[in-house]
Each structure stands twice: as C-alpha cells, then as structure tokens.
Symmetry: C2
Subunit: 177 residues, 2 copies
C-alpha cells in the first residue's frame, strides 16, 4: 500500500530556536523573556519597537541554526515515522538565506536516516501538498493539506486546532499506534 | 480572480549549467562534448565509467551555480509571468547542498523582482502542487501538476511531451497571450 505523505516542520517542532533567540537577546540587552511573557505571542511582537530587526539579524547570522537543540524525543519518533510514512522535512527557511546550508548540515548530523530527497527549504508552504502536516504555524494548513496537526509552541497556545500535540511523545501516540 | 500557480524550474530552464559542466570537463580531461554527443542523454551517462562522480563534484563545488549564464529571454518573460501568475521557482537543489546559497544569490541578482516567498529549494518535487509546471525533467510531472510543459534540454529531445517549449519566447507565446 502506498504510504501516506507526512510533512514535518523544523523550527519549534524538530529544533528549538526560541531558547537561543532569548539567550542572545539577554546577552545583548540584559533582558531574559520568560515563557509567561511570550505566551500567545511572537517574540518579535514582545521586544521593544525597533528590536524585531535585531531578532531577524540573529536568525540570519551564519551558524545560528547549525547548533540548535533537538526537541526532546524528535529523533527517535522521526526514525519510526520514517518507516511508516513518506516523510518530508519542510522548512520555510528562505527568509534567512544564511540558514540554508546550516539547516541541511543540522539534519545530516541529527537525522542521518533522512535522505536529501526528503528535505525541502522553501519560502511559502502554499505549494506543498501532503496527507498529514505537523507544524507550529496554522497559517501553513492550507487546502492541500489533508490532516493538520498543530505542534504546540509558545505563540500558538491560545489558537484553536483540528488536532494538537504538545510534544513528540504525543506525535508518536497519534501517528504510530 | 485567483491567479494560477506556475512552478518554474531553474537548471536548464532559467540557468545553463550544462555549458559550464562541459567547459570544466574539457579543462580537466581535454574532451569537449558536442551537442550531438549528448543528444537524448544525460552527461553522466556519456562520460567514461567512473567520471559521473567528477560531474557531481563540479556541481557541488561552492560557486558553481553562482555565475551560471541566464537562459536567453528568461528575465523578461519571467517578469511578465510574475504579473499574471502566482509564480514559484522550484529547484531540486538538495542533492548539492553547497549550491543552496549560490542559487538564492543568483536569483537575487538576475531576478530581483522575485520575493523569497517564491523560492523553493527541495529534494523531490513530488510534494509540490501547481496549476502549471515548466521543467526539463518529465519525472517531475506527477499527478499534482495540472498542466505540464516540458522545456527542451539536450537530454529530453526524444521524449514525448504533453506540451513542449524550446525557448523562453515559446513560453511567452504559450502563457502570456
């Protein structure tokens, strides 16, 4: 039987850029944002006016994405998903062109069982179709995605969702049973 | 009215890597392949056994894709297509991870009217859906592509095609009338 297509997002799903963003911001501006302060919000909307461009500079710094922490249990669950589904990692990375090679190298290091054919670094995800998508941005759940699974991140905690997972163990319970 | 989605391939459609590949090969092995010698074939199948990996090394050399020649009339026609269609440039670049930033920079230089949201560097194109696709590889014309336009390249000249264009003027005649 043909495997279902499963699209998995990188940032805030497989990798954690938010902890590093907050750490760099605290280093430069002596202000460490708490989980409570960014609940339901994007970091760019929380920092003082004019500082959103600083966050952009962090994200486009060569190397920023290269050593991000892997989300807990992501490797083990992805390994199993990769057996059962036709898995693709799709990241809207094009806004940060200096991240492209870093993201590829990061995947090679932590998810070596994924082939280059399974990686897609795009701008908009609106040309991407799949049976299932796991993403922290509901804006990526367009009509071409059949089953939409919202991965909880600080900015989406108050959003409604068809299906929601809070961690990779919950992904496993949903998709590997 | 919602614009139709148009996916355009880069290599051998917008950019010419084949001339450069043949030039580098001639530089290193003193053999310049003619159009006749590569007609209906992939360069990797024409070079002596064991030399396909040399072509791969050329393609993955940082900078290889950065200064490729733009295909004749591609800029002018793409500018007009970009007004009429929802255009995305989709390149199966992930096989050559050192090409990623070069391809982005090349597009910025020659097609500055394209936004980062319109660029997608992927592995397989089988998760990409569109109303229209222009590509030199018919293997990319899967069920999610409604109208399939084969752009003539040396390797596909003997292939059947739903629709075929031989140059960008023919693209204009087909899609801008």
């Amino acid at each position: 039987m043909k495997k279902l297509t499963l699209i998995v997002d990188m940032d805030e799903v497989m990798a954690d850029p938010i902890t590093k963003l907050r750490t760099w911001y605290a280093r430069d501006f002596n202000k460490q944002y708490t989980d409570e302060e960014i609940a339901g919000k994007h970091l760019a909307d929380v920092v003082p006016a004019g500082h959103a461009s600083i966050l952009y500079q962090y994200l486009n710094t060569p190397g920023f994405f290269r050593d991000l922490v892997v989300m807990q249990d992501a490797v083990e669950v992805m390994k199993c998903l990769n057996e059962k589904y036709d898995v693709y990692v799709v990241s809207a990375a094009m806004e940060f062109p200096n991240s492209l090679k870093d993201k590829y190298d990061w995947l090679q290091e932590h998810f070596p069982f994924l082939q280059w054919q399974q990686i897609c670094l795009c701008g908009s995800k609106h040309i991407i179709s799949a049976d299932i998508m796991i993403d922290d941005h509901s804006r990526n759940f367009h009509a071409g995605i059949h089953r939409k699974i919202l991965f909880t991140s600080h900015h989406n905690i108050y959003e409604p969702a068809d299906e929601r997972v809070n961690n990779w163990q919950e992904v496993a319970r949903l998709l590997l049973k």
